[in-house]
Structures are given as structure tokens and as C-alpha cells.
Amino acid sequence: MDETAVSIEPVEAEASPPAQQRRFANRHRLPTRLWHWVNALTVFIMLMSGLMIFNAHPHLYWGQYGANFDHPWLSFHGRPIPGWATIPSTYNLAAARRWHLAFAWLLVVPLLLFLLTSLINRHAQRDLKPTRDEMRPSHLWHDIREHARLRFPTGDAALRYNILQKLSYVGVIFALLPLMVLTGLAMSPSMDAAWPWLLTLFGGRQTARSIHFICAMLLLAFILVHLLMVLIAGPINEIGSMITGRFRVPPERPNEPGRP
């Protein structure tokens, strides 16, 4: 990556007005903040209880059926997921199912409410939908480079989602989470009778189970990157704004080279 293109020395920093140094703005509306914290709890419990359920039969297959005499595409010996990553921490399929299938409600209902709310109040269209301009390869590449250098947007730009944020949030909210729910339902024999299209959509219960697992791992990857970004961007301001909605706007960097 090009290391020298942008000078970041504050060459003759023009004294910026003090007001700009400590500017606050409202970021994240109430539905977003509520849903975020419900999910922060629920997704962890779903992941950890799900990993315990995975321990019961740690083999994944493609197709309608799949059991010990068939050919898995992923297979582990014994109970591969360690106790520190599962709920409960010692092997107990029945208890893990109780947690998983109870907290599933806390995942599904708020997800539906959030999807509905953000389409109605146009949060999705206004704040999350990538613009044609943002999707240009040069813009994408610029944002990737800036992120790689841990240079995050400042000033007014920090009040909008940048394109990498938009793409990951849209991916999680409109693809990963709905896929988690639908593949979860496709594993239910009763739901397969009620909604036979679930099996048609995914091409079989064991395929749905595999997609369920893959999406869970992608969700885990999102969470790890998300937490890392929060830590780097300034955890107090970032977490504080997700609780109160009040965000201290990072002052513009002097000599900010205009965005391409």
C-alpha cells in the first residue's frame, strides 16, 4: 500500500475555532440504540448456545439428509467447541436448546421491528443505502486504504456511515440475520410442513444447517471486526453515543486532502 501519498503532519495548523474542537451531534436514533443492545446480548447467547448444539453432532452436510454414514464437508472429532465458548459450559444439549430457542424470539421479534421501523422512518434508505457515488471502485478503494491506515472519517463525514460501514451493516441486517432466522426455521420439521418453500429455498435441511453455521461464523467475524473498530475509533465516544445518542464529532484533520 502507498505509504507516502498523504502528509499527515499538521503543517502550520490553522487554529481551528474552539467550538469546532468539541462539537457534539446526535447519532443513532432510539430504535437503533435499543436494538443494538438487545442484539449485543442476544447474539452472544445465540452464538454460544448454538456452538453447544453444534457439539452434539459436529458434522455438516449438503443436501436433504446427512448423518454419520454420509459424507460431511466439515467434520470434527468429539466435542470440538471448548466450554468457555458454549452455553452452558459443560455438555448439555437440552439446556443449550432451551437457551437457543428462547433467545431466538429475542432475535427475531426485534429484528422484524427494526426492519419495519427503519424502512418506514427511511433510516434504511437514507443512512444505510450506498449511493452510486460511494460504490465507485475508486471510492471503495480509497475507503479501504483509509481504514487500513486506521484513519477514520472526521467532522461531518463521521456523522454518516462510510461505505465500508454501510456495506457491512446492510450485509448483517438484510442478509446475515434474516438468513440465520430462515435457515434456523428450515431445520424445524414443523416449519418445513408449514412453509415447504423453506426446503426448496435452501435445497434441503442439511444444507440449511450448513448455511446456518456459515452465517454464524460470518456474524462472529463481523462482531470481532466491529469491536476492533470501536476500540480503535475511540471506545468511550463510540459506546457512549450508542447508549445516549450523543456523539462527540472528531475534529477535521487539518490539511485534509479532499476525498476523490
Binding site: 439428509y65 448423518a67 468457555w84 437440552a94 432451551r98 431445520m187 418445513d192
Partner: protein, 248 residues
């Protein structure tokens, strides 16, 4: 540095897990978790028409090997005798809240026109196997016995034991009268193998594997499950807290 990181990681997850494990052992919290079972059942029953059919597959979809689970051979001397006699004297008792208690010889049961269905068996552990089942619709047996108006559940008493406890299962009347709910005596064109529940097993196709009681000897109609063994409607329900409603 590594030690500190390790300490923080294990300490953090230990705190979280310790909390979850403590909650897991807390009776009232478990009660909250358990209440989701009823919510799920009511919702699924609301969404699914009463007679919504489980998918039936074609011959090409059959699992090459239909694995078994749980008991592979009931260890009682009584079962050993039946096995030696090729189940010639096996009878299916139907009693409880019925107008006409029955004791149907296995041969009679097999001589009645039966249903063949290729369905998917989903184990609670996560695996699935597709098999072709031959059997008599449970509704026909129940109609022959004449259910009393007070009957609300059908209990299946089995010949196998887990430790010293008899295996049993139960379903409600919606599943009992579902067209795909059968008392099966055949699998993939043959009589049931012993590990799959010979000579008779239940198929209740919209629920998980542990509901599919094997080695069925007696069908009992009851108004409540509270008086039966542990009172939760099944061996696994009584002993390890599996859900009675296993539709998901």
C-alpha cells in the same frame, strides 16, 4: 503480556459463563426459558394448518444407510423372547380413555391396508436421515378404539428401558390424528430392524427424532400427562429436560 491477555480472556469469558451457568441452574430463570416452548408451539400451530404435511421425498432421496439412535436392542428377557418368536405373539394394546380397549395382534395390524411415506427423520442432535416407512395411520387405530371425550394426549409405552426406566413418549390429539402419523412396521421395504424399533414404532413427522417412540407395546389415551412417570410426557422430557413439543 501473554499471561495477562490470557488472564483477561479467560477472566472475561469466565465471568460471562459463570453468570450463564448460574442462571442455567436457577429454577425461575429456567422457567422463563421453558416458557418459550409453549410460545413456539402455539406460534407454529397458528402458522401451520392442522393437517400441513411434512415433505414426502422420492426413492432417489433415501439415505443409503438409515442410522439408528438410542436403544439398539431392548435388553429385557421378554423382548428377547418376542424376537426369538419373530414377534408372532406381539400385541399392541390400546387402552385408557377409550370406549373399546383393544389388543391388536401384530399380524392383524400388518394385514390392514397401510400407508407408505418417504419422510425425513431429524434428530435433536442435528443429523437427518430419509427413510420409507410402512404403517397404519394412528387415527384409524384410535377411531377403532373410540376415544372418550376427556382424552387429550396419546401416550406410547415402549419395550425398551434406559437404565431401569421404561421409554415412553406422548403427543396431543392434533398430531395423533395427523394423516402422516403412523404406527410403522416397515422401513425401506423390509420389516423394521431391531435398532429402528421392531416390530412397531411411532412416526410423528412434524417433530424431532426422540418423539418417534420405538418398540411400541401399548397406546394409552389420557387426559393429563401429570400422572405418567415423571409427568413431563416422555423419557427425555422427564430425565434431561428436552422439550415435550419437539417441532423445532
Amino acid at each position: 503480556m501473554i499471561d495477562r491477555r490470557h488472564f483477561i480472556a479467560t477472566g472475561g469469558s469466565g465471568l460471562l459463563l459463570g453468570g450463564c451457568d448460574r442462571l442455567n441452574n436457577n429454577t425461575s430463570f429456567r422457567g422463563v426459558l421453558r416458557s418459550a416452548e409453549k410460545l413456539t408451539m402455539n406460534t407454529q400451530r397458528l402458522i401451520a394448518p392442522r393437517d400441513a404435511l411434512a415433505r414426502e421425498y422420492g426413492e432417489a432421496d433415501l439415505s443409503p444407510v438409515f442410522r439408528s439412535n438410542g436403544t439398539a436392542m431392548p435388553g429385557t428377557s421378554e423382548y428377547a423372547r418376542h424376537l426369538k418368536e419373530n414377534f408372532a405373539n406381539w400385541r399392541l394394546a390400546v387402552d385408557g380413555l377409550v370406549a373399546r380397549p383393544l389388543s391388536i395382534p401384530l399380524q392383524t395390524l400388518k394385514s390392514i391396508p397401510h400407508r407408505v411415506q418417504i419422510t425425513r427423520h431429524d434428530c435433536v442432535e442435528g443429523w437427518s436421515a430419509i427413510g420409507k416407512w410402512h404403517g397404519l395411520q394412528l387415527s384409524r387405530i384410535l377411531n377403532a378404539a373410540g376415544l372418550s371425550s376427556g382424552a387429550r394426549y396419546i401416550v406410547f409405552h415402549c419395550a425398551d428401558r434406559f437404565g431401569d426406566k421404561p421409554y415412553y413418549e406422548s403427543i396431543d390429539l392434533i398430531d395423533a390424528f395427523h394423516p402422516q402419523t403412523i404406527i410403522a412396521w416397515g422401513l425401506n421395504g423390509h420389516l423394521l430392524p431391531v435398532p429402528n424399533g421392531a416390530p412397531l414404532r411411532l412416526r410423528v413427522e412434524r417433530q424431532l427424532g426422540y418423539k418417534q417412540a420405538k418398540y411400541v407395546q401399548r397406546i394409552e389415551a389420557v387426559d393429563s400427562l401429570a400422572q405418567i412417570y415423571g409427568g413431563k410426557g416422555g423419557y427425555w422430557e422427564d430425565n434431561v429436560d428436552y422439550e415435550w413439543y419437539a417441532g423445532i
